[in-house]
Every structure is written in C-alpha cells, then in structure tokens.
C-alpha cells in the first residue's frame, strides 16, 4: 500500500435488514483511498449512505464485505479494522477524533470535563496539566469563557465547537466530521469551516468530512468523493469538481457529468430527480 494512504477503503459493502425483513444494500462496493494530511469531503444526497460509511470507518458498524485498512503512525503495519480485536481497535480509536452531527457532548458533564475525559482516561497526564490542555483546546475553538457551562446551556454552534475541542483533545491523526454545518446558520457554519481549516493546518491532521452543504464542501476540501446509491460516482481534486459545477449545461456529456452538475449546483431538475426521462420542455429549460 502507498505510504501516503492513511485509510484505504476497499470494496466496502454494508447491508441493513429493513423492518419488512428484506436486505437493503446501503453501501455497495465503495472503494477509495484517504491520503495522509488531506481534507477529503464525502458528499451525496440524503440517504445515499454517507453516515453509514462514516460509521463503518470509525468501527461503529461491522461491514458485510470488503476491507477498511488503517495505517496510522503508531501501527507497525497496515491493518484491516474488521479483523482487530476490541483492545487493538481501541488503540486505533485513540488516534482519531470525531465531531458528531449533534456534537454528542456528555450532557452530565461540564464543557471542561467533556474535554478532560478522553485525556484523563487514556493518558497519565497529571490533573494540573490536563487543566492546561483543556484551556488550550478551548482557546483554539474560542470557547474559553464557556468552560464551566453545561452542554444544555450552549447553542448548536457552540456545542459543535466544544465537540471539536473534545475531538482534538488527544491530538489525533485523523478527524472525522459528520455534517458539521447541519442545523447551523450560514455565518456560524462558515466559522466552523474556518475552524476546521485552521485545525487541519495547525495539527497537520487528516480530515474526513461528510456533508451535503456544497458551499462548505468547496471551502474546505482538497479532494472530494461523490456517493450515489451506495457507490462512488466520482473521486477527484476540488478543482475537478469546481470545473464540473461551473460547466455550462450544453457542454456536459453523459449521465454522470449531468448528475454531478445538478447535485453540485443544487438544481431541482436533472438526472438525479429524473425518474421517467426528461420531457422536451424540461430539456429546454435546462438548455436555458
């Protein structure tokens, strides 16, 4: 495996059993590499399997096929996390941080305790030093004045900031973000993006971001992956995606390009929403 690859996703399959009893293939052979130090954005429409993929990447779900191969700095050799026993999986987990969609702060603990918890549990750092680290982490996300508040007293954006501080508490190699701008106003969302870019520069982490907010995706991404119906539709540099987004409709060839163009621009008409084939009238509209 390429030494620049930190996570290699190989043919990952994940099925769920629907309440009716039949199997639904949510991920159907997803393959791509995540490179060390990059910010990669995973995007796609609602229900296409982004969160499922993230849950597979962090070892929350066991996959039904394929491999997810990690090669973090402390691992002597690349390992498939599906084959790791829990103790070793936990060693991998200590090397990554996650910002959950809702922040997922521990509601029974104060802001400072939330950030101190992973440090206290996973290191022998003395209490006084933990305090200093907590201050530093809160300073980084500009939440120092809220240090003694409880999560219930914070706004959505503030919770995400604290969540981010907690995710970085153990100086991770990889940061995962699930819909970081969901439920936030555009300005707050932009400040979270700034923070993400800032952190990835300062901590030299690999960032894996799941989102369907295109503005945010184009602000932060080095590379992008587009999922559709449980498969990778396109993987490429941000510039390639920008070119596809800005391409004039008449220059697009093939279903894939048209679909990407529709999604990236958020058009309501196009192959994504086209069930029975486009009417002549709709084609005229798209052609301008």
């Amino acid at each position: 495996m390429d030494s620049d690859v930190i996570i290699s996703v190989r043919n990952v399959v994940k099925t769920f059993r629907s309440p009716g009893g039949d199997e639904v293939r949510v991920l159907d052979g997803v393959t791509f590499d995540i490179l060390r130090g990059e910010t990669i954005v995973i995007m796609g429409g609602s229900g296409c399997g982004k969160s499922t993929l993230l849950n597979c990447l962090i070892g929350e779900y066991t996959i039904d096929g394929g491999q997810i191969i990690y090669s973090t700095e402390r691992m002597p050799e690349p390992r498939d996390i599906g084959e790791l026993p829990e103790a070793e999986l936990n060693e991998v987990r200590k090397r990554f941080g996650i910002l959950f969609q809702s922040g997922a702060l521990f509601n029974s603990m104060s802001v400072a305790e939330n950030i101190a918890l992973p440090i206290r549990e996973h290191s022998d750092v003395p209490a006084r030093l933990i305090d200093t680290i907590v201050t530093l982490k809160l300073e980084q996300v500009k939440m120092l004045e809220h240090r003694d508040k409880m999560p219930a007293q914070l706004s959505g954006g503030q919770k995400k900031r604290v969540g981010l501080a907690r995710a970085t508490a153990l100086d991770p190699e990889i940061l995962f973000y699930d819909e970081p701008s969901a439920g936030l106003d555009p300005v707050t969302s932009a400040t979270i993006d700034e923070l993400m870019i800032d952190l990835s520069k300062k901590l030299l982490v690999t960032s894996v971001v799941v989102t369907h907010e295109m503005d945010s995706a184009f602000r932060i991404a080095d590379r992008m992956v587009m999922l559709e119906r449980g498969r990778v539709l396109k993987l490429g540099a941000r510039s390639e995606f920008e070119a596809l987004r800005d391409a004039p409709a008449e220059s697009l060839t093939g279903r894939e390009e048209k679909l990407m163009n529709q999604f990236l621009n958020g058009f309501s008409v196009g192959p994504l929403t086209d069930v029975h084939g486009m009417s002549e009238y709709e084609k005229l509209i798209i052609a301008g």
Binding site: I58, N90, R93, K94, S102, A104, H122
Partner: protein
C-alpha cells in the same frame, strides 16, 4: 345468518359464512403469531441481559485484577448515592406500613389459637426473608431502575454512547458496571434498613394496639430469627439489585425513536422489573423450601 353487523352491502349466505370463517381463522392466527412474537421477544431480551451481564462481569474482573483498568470508584460512589439515598425515605415508610399490616392481619387468627404474641415470629420471618428484599426491590425499580433507563436511553439518543465508543471508552465498563455495582450494594443495604423498620412496625403495633408486652415481642423475634434467614434475604436482595440494573441498562441501551422511545424504555423497565422480581423470588423461595434453607 346472512345479515352482518358491518356496514356495506349485505353479502349473500355462503360467502358471508366463508368470510366469517376467514376472519375467525385470521383472528386466531394473528393472536398466535402475536403470542409467538412476544415469546421470541422475551427470549431475545433475556439473551441481551445475559450478554450484558457477561460483558459487565468481564469488565469488573479486569478492573479488579488487571492493573491500569480502572474500577471507577468516584462513578460508583456517585451512583450509590443516586440509587440508594433517594430511596431510603420511601423504603422506610413502606416497610413501617408492611409491619403494621402484617401484625393487624395476623392478630385475629393467632388470638383464636391463644397465641397472639406469636405475631412477633411471623412478622420477623415474613419481613426478613421475604418482604424486606422484595418490597425494597420494587421501590428501587421505580426509583433507580426507571431513572437509569431514562438516563442511558437519553444518552443513546444524543449519540453519547457512540461518542463514548469512538473515544475508546467501553459503555459496559463506563456506564453499566458502576450502575450495576451500585444497585446491588445499595439494595442489599436498603434491605437491612427495611428489615429493621418492618420488624419495628410490627413491634409498635403489637405493643400499642395488640398489647403484647414489648419484652416478650423482642424475645420471640430474637429466637425466631437465625442468621440463615437474614442471609437468604440479603442474597435475594443482591440478585434483585442485579436484575433491576440489568433490565434498566438493557432497556436504555436499546432505545431508539427519540423522546418517545426513552419514555417507553422507562415504563418497560418498571413493568419488566416487577415481573422478573416476583418470578425470581418465587423460584428462590421454592428452592429454599425444597432444600430447607
């Protein structure tokens, strides 16, 4: 025969009969399937509980014997206060009443036999062996069981459990173990209080209402009770505490579907706990009876 109570066009004779038969068969079939489903669900739940117990005991073992794995003393202390202390008042109140009720109910029969003072023996045995642990456990399932289920359920809903795992913290070690230990220890402690208070309720009633001399009552109580009685009661209390904690944690960890799901888990915890407690109690009592313990 052919006029059906349902609205709609009246059906002709034979087909209405067939429809009625079909409805009946469907109704019976549905009931049977529902019943089989419920049995399956019960078996699954007991399986989940056993699994949870296994994981938790393994973590407990590791915390005690493997250096570096923490026993979480502060979490344990916090849970003990939360589980036990709030329940003390209610347990005392309920057990006083139990003592009074027992004494008054037994008095007429015993008086007929001219052995009114034997109220002391019966109250002591009933409270220490049976009602002390059982009633305390039922009170605790309402107090602690429901609140543990609601707490863990809310954590599940807020992705906190997922966050714990993602931080390499095991929920069995982090959440279930302290709650299980706290419930077992506190219910055992509460039962000691319940025993004393229940016997005291019987004593007060016998002394003030039935006019049994206090010294006689104390003597009879002492001679009626052996250490064996105390220990079977406390052993049961420990098992009851384990059941309550397991049911509550299991229900909490299964929660899905928002606030409504949390509410369902709370109710289910109390209902399942009470059924499980009384069922297991009957089992123990039968075993103790057969082996004359």
């Amino acid at each position: 025969m052919s006029d059906s109570p349902s609205s709609g066009p009246p059906a002709s004779g034979p087909s209405a009969g067939a429809a009625r038969w079909r409805r009946m068969v469907e109704g019976v079939g549905g009931a049977v399937i529902g019943w089989v489903d419920r049995c399956g669900e019960t078996v699954r739940f007991v399986g989940d509980m056993t699994d949870l117990l296994g994981h938790t005991l393994r973590w407990l073992f590791r915390s005690v014997f493997v250096p570096g794995v923490r026993l979480r003393r502060s979490a344990l202390a916090y849970q003990m206060v939360r589980v036990g202390v709030r329940s003390i008042g209610i347990v005392v109140l309920v057990q006083i009443f139990i003592g009074i009720i027992l004494a008054l109910q037994l008095a007429p029969t015993l008086r007929d036999y001219g052995q009114l003072e034997r109220v002391a023996d019966v109250v002591a045995i009933a409270v220490v062996r049976e009602l002390g642990p059982l009633i305390s456990a039922i009170v605790l399932s309402g107090f602690a069981g429901a609140s543990i289920a609601a707490e863990i359920g809310a954590m599940k809903e807020a992705e906190e459990i997922k966050a714990l795992k993602a931080h390499a913290l095991n929920p069995y070690h982090f959440l279930v173990m302290p709650r299980l230990l706290a419930t077992v220890m506190m219910l055992t402690g509460l039962t000691v209080i319940a025993d004393v208070v229940g016997v005291f309720g019987g004593f007060l009633t016998s002394w003030l209402v039935l006019e049994v001399p206090p010294a006689t009552y104390v003597d009879l109580t002492q001679s009626a009770l052996g250490l064996k009685d105390l220990f079977t009661g406390l052993f049961k209390a420990g098992v009851f505490g384990m059941l309550i904690a397991l049911i509550a944690c299991c229900e909490g960890l299964r929660v899905s579907g928002g606030a409504e799901g949390v509410g369902r888990a709370t109710t289910a915890t109390v209902v399942k706990s009470i059924v499980a407690l009384i069922g297991v109690d009957a089992l123990f009592t039968a075993v103790f009876y057969v082996f004359e313990i």
